[in-house]
Amino acid sequence: MNRGLWDRETVAALLLISALPLAVTWLALDGPFGLLRLAVFLVVAGVWHLVWMLARAQPPSLAGALTALALAVLAPEDLGPVALLLSTTFGVVAAELTFGGWGRNVLNPATVTLAFMGFGFPAAPWPDLAIQVGWASWAMLAMGLALGVLPGPVVLGALGTLGLAALTGAPVWAAMPAVCAGLALLVADPVASATTPLGRWLNGALYGGLCTLFLAFWQDAAPVQIAVSSALLASLAAPLFDEISIALWLRRRNRRHG
């Protein structure tokens, strides 16, 4: 059979490989407790993938592991088992599996889960990410871009906006680990982010802009909470950016070709 290798599972596997530096750094810092957290999220996401495979003949995807990793790193601490099960189930099932599995979803399941946790259980404290995790997210972004599985303009748009904000004196650097981990794990998802060149730049820029805005004006918010909220809003706006980008492209084309 003559075929290339960029099918869904290859991309998911490459994304997982890019995420390895982040996963290893985070596990080394968090120790056995981190491993347990990761295992719990893996099991919950895996069980739902299995249920959908058996009930709906929907092939499970390695992307479920990526969701579990994002949740383990970014989810609030001290959530009770019920809260954790409920929100993970909501994210994985409602944001991904009901749409037909990874590749057809509109929002990143981890983003939806985290937003659900934030709204549903506001008392749970958000984790404080170490600076090493922040640098490991840079490694994940670099690997993902080099392998071509992360959308370049989204990453560059976000980092560019944040860099500009830092230059103008906004308090961005202190939140770097959370903002970069959010960018790597939630926003720069090839499926849920925008798909047109201009749309991607806008999508990344919106994430960076919202992070800057929240960091400057949202009192008492944890950095991870800010990253998750920005990621949710940026993902929700992605289809709009695609529409804008396509409308502009069509206008330019119509002007040129009549």
Binding site: M1, N2, R3, G4, L5, W6, D7, R8, V11, A12, M53, R56, A57, Q58, P59, G100, G101, W102, G103, R104, G148, V149, P151, G152, P190, V191, T195, T196, D242, S245, I246, W249, L250, R253, H257
Partner: protein, 421 residues
Amino acid sequence: MSRIWRKGLSISVPGPQPGGTIDRQITAEASLVIPASGDLRVEALALEGETVAQGQPLFRDLHNAGLTTCAPMAGRVARLDIDSARRLRQVTLFHEPGAGRHEWPPVPVDQRDPQSLTEHLRATGLWHLLRARPFGGLADPARRPAAIFVMALDTRPGAPDPLRAIEGQEAAFASGLAALMALTEGPVYLCHRAGTAPVQDAGPRLRLLPAAPVHPWGLAGFHIHAQRPATPEAPVWDIAAEDVAAIGTLLDTGLLPETRLVSLTGTGLRDARLLRCQPWADLRGLCQGHVRPGQNTILSGSLLEGRPARWLLGADRQVTVTAHHPSHGRGHWFLSALSHAARPLPLIPTAALEQSMGGALPAVPLLRAIASGDAETARKLGALSLLPEDLALADYVTGAEPRLSALFAALLERIAEEDAP
């Protein structure tokens, strides 16, 4: 102003690479087989058993007035299978070198007006070499094209270099280009590899389109999309450079070309070859003595879009022989149920997918529209300039199932039906 597109991929052909020499081989048999879905109603102009010269009319198309098909080689009509509804099923010729070449009257330069050129090209069968967009297929003589694209670049893996094909036929090529310029009121675009233009003096009507030699920029579709999008009201035609030289030769000398440059590549071959053979050539005859032992599949066309075939199909200039990979037995029923559910497989936007669509159009929205059968969006994003072959690279890169090009063919058919008056 034209821009040199560089976004694309170069896919290398596994197996041996062709050397520098070009052999000439006329196979003992040549055949045209119409698939069961085809509907070509004809009137035979040569009978079974009759000897025909190369270039002599074989049959006339009943649905397209004045359109005939000529014999690709001198030979005897061994089989002419026309059913009771006058539907052509198969024509087979046996080679007989003594039968000579049919001479058409040359067309003097001052008589090359659109009307007589069209009639002459249709009578000699060279009209089949022009392909119309939208929808592909035969060019409509009643509707002058908005532009004609001449492809002097072919970036399909293992494709022969069109410039080598027209080597030594520069005068015929120029004469063919002039004829094409008479056929359209719009421009004639000549797409070539950047740095090696086959014609130096471009004018306002003849425009050079240099392109980087990366796939898919050696296909007409993406150039048409970028320069002059095809619409049902303003169709665009495309033609290969070698076929332009064939038109020039016919007009100047009255002879139809005997051969075309074809490359034989693939993992199933012992040695890859470049050769000149007749249209409809017997692919087994071409491969005989050059294939590796064992089971092989012969494709007419490149690795990306080739179809298994016994005879050289249509305007193909490539034969790919791939070693047959035996399937590893029957998988578990559960795995096969899983892999056959949830079709078409979801597309993940990656850099590879963007590159495979050349970077000239919103690739992911277009492919998603095609996969979901959304004709309106696909049309808006420029699908009418493309043909299924243009999506073959995206199919290859993403391993899409079912193939996007097959979905696109069905979608185009639907649009054509809805558009029909």
